[in-house]
Amino acid sequence: MTFNLRLIPLLPFLGAAILMLFGRKWKRDTVLLVAAGAIAGSCLVAVDAFFTALPAAASKGGLHDVVGTWMAAGSLKIDLALRLDALSGLLCLIITFIGFLIHIYSSGYMEHDPDYPRFFAYLNLFCGAMLVLVLGDSLPVMFIGWEGVGLCSYLLIGFWYSSSANADAGKKAFITNRIGDLGFLIGMFLLYQFTGSLNIPEITAAASGGGALMQTLFPGTIFAAPVAFWAALFLFIGATGKSAQIPLYVWLPDAMAGPTPVSALIHAATMVTAGVYMVARMHALYLLTPGAMAIVACVGALTALFAAIIGFAQNDFKKVLAYSTISQLGFMFAGVGTANFGAGVFHLFTHAFFKAGLFLCAGSVMHAMGGSGDITIMGGLRKKLPFTHGVFLVCWLAICGVPFFSGFFSKDSIISGAFGTEIFGEGLLWVGKAVGVVLMLAALGTAFYMSRLYFLVFTGSETRASDEIKHHIHESPGAMVGPLVVLAVGAALGGFIGLPGGLLDHPEWNLLADRLAPVLGPEMEVSRSIELGFMVASVVLALGGIGLAYLFYGGGYREPSRKFAAAAPRFVRLVQDKFRIDELYGLLIIRPIKRLAKGVFFVVDRILIDKILVEGSGAIVGVLARMARAVQGGDVQRYMAVFAIGAAGIVYLATRPSVPDVLKVTVSGLSVDVDARRGSKPASRVQDYSFDFDDDGKPEVTGAAPAAHHAYPRAGTYTVRVQVKDPNWGTSTSLKQKVEVR
């Protein structure tokens, strides 16, 4: 069914274009009106599509909109086409709704920034690109959005460009993403080669058939594996870049250099979930290949735990949240990697609310603290920032997985799904269990570091900051608080769209799974005992983590936390330094490449090619020329004399009779044939020949014929002399040769 889907991304794009062209001269209110209006319009269209038009078309592939052919070359044809089904529709709603809230929030947060219009232009551009990403009906169109959001991320991280650190962080984000994009590209190429198409529905259809995608690639090598495995793996590399998973997660913490609303929108709620979305979108492909699924799940689980551990020791408000995002994304990947796609998307949805809320709280706190995000100087902010505190409280409980807050439902369905999954088949069943265990540890860690953050920032009797800052602390304006409250409501209640219906004997209560079923297949069946068991276990873990954090940090730094820091200072240092992974990458990858490039530039380009080969051959010519220059005195008359001599030489040579170098003599018995032609062609010059066969001065044969015959009277050795005359020039020459006749 067609629907005017293009409006959804087009409105923000138009907003961005208008703001970029004219925004600089406008008042702030006008700018906000255009930017927020564009995204609100887009949101309305998305709502209309999702709730009005989609239900009728849900089972028929959703809504479809072809703008035109983007490119066609050879057998490749790519349409600029958009498709909205339950999955992409849900993402559209998240993007436009949270995007709208963040536009409103930003109007307060960026109030005093001189680059206000530019900021909103970027935000609109981002929303448009993100919508293209989720709506794209083919991988290349998705890739437009995929790279487009990367660009906006780059621009927004480096928004305050006058600091080199910000610009560096933006560049790092873009380049790390590009490494992933290389994987995405190669994945696309593989799919194109073996399915003949890049359209997602056609790839899905091909994957359902199995066939072409199950051919073995690189047979006979250690890389031998089905095409589907490689394609899925390469696409997943793209996802690790965009969604900040091991090993490409390093850019996300640095990305916190951008304005906080950006961190909330791009680096928490939307863009970083693109990888999860992509895996869910390509679920048919991933289902073909348990090996790739296992990799996705393991990477997700490990990232979840690893980032949570780093989160324990960070002292920057936003850095903690950044590692938390990485960790939560790991949960989502573990969800989709265990074939529990619905749960992964569910967590994406709930995470969008509570993490956006957390980030906006961070913005609000930092706004109050005069821009500083150092949690060691905070504390006791509960009373000074009541609204912010309330919202943070809700979101904190949601991310920890306290029952009936949104995170509880989504996280739980991922963990129980990991234990219950059967995707890995007989031999690899332990993968699911291992992933589940790691995830539970990560959930414990999440509860701990988030509670640490909460206690250190909001509880306690007084703020540890200087008086000057303390004096300045104030609650944020209404434009910032309003969106916070809306997000808090979402974070509190969002989980109810994905109630564990199976557990409650009312599968239809799981609205989300119901909606997603036509796209992602039915919800994963997990036995009631497993689900209930893990639900209890995760509640225990959440409360345990919170309790542990209270022991350490309740009301400020407590005794146990100091003791721990004193007991293992090097370990704490290592965690604070994020296990020094950035430095490792620098040492192992970036510096060697740079050194190699520099070395090659000087040795190969400058010296080998340019100096030795190019200028060397030039120098040889130069030497020869200098030798030749000896005859060049600059004296014209000498040149002319040489010329005259040369001309005379040419005349001499040209007027000489034409004779062979050696006479051709054929002996047979006593008779000889002598041929005085030059070459085998008939002579073109008329010449007089005289043949003197015995060299006695009396020629035996004369005439114009260049060959002659003679019979000797008796055997012996004779000298044949041939004289050739040119009658025109009067020149003559003679040749002689010895002949032996027997």
Binding site: Q632, G633, G634, D635, V636, Q637, M640, A644
Partner: protein, 99 residues
Amino acid sequence: MPTTYYIVLSFVLFLIGTAGVLVRRNALIALMGIELQLNGGNLAMLAFSRELGDLKGHVFAFFIIALAAAEAAVGLAILVALFRGRQTVNLDEATLLKR
């Protein structure tokens, strides 16, 4: 008169011109030598033309005269420029081509 005489005369003229170009150090004289060479050529053209009864030789002669005029003009201009620049028309001193 037989054509041979004219040819011989033209050859002699040409040789005198060549010798003038080659041995005289004064650029003006060398230029005159070149004119002599050209006229030697002209004479040969006309002689052959007469011998063969063909007017093409005359046409060529006219071309050569025009060319000689042009060459004299350019050559003299160069000489004037040379003299202005170096206060000499001695060919031994005008070895600019060396550099």
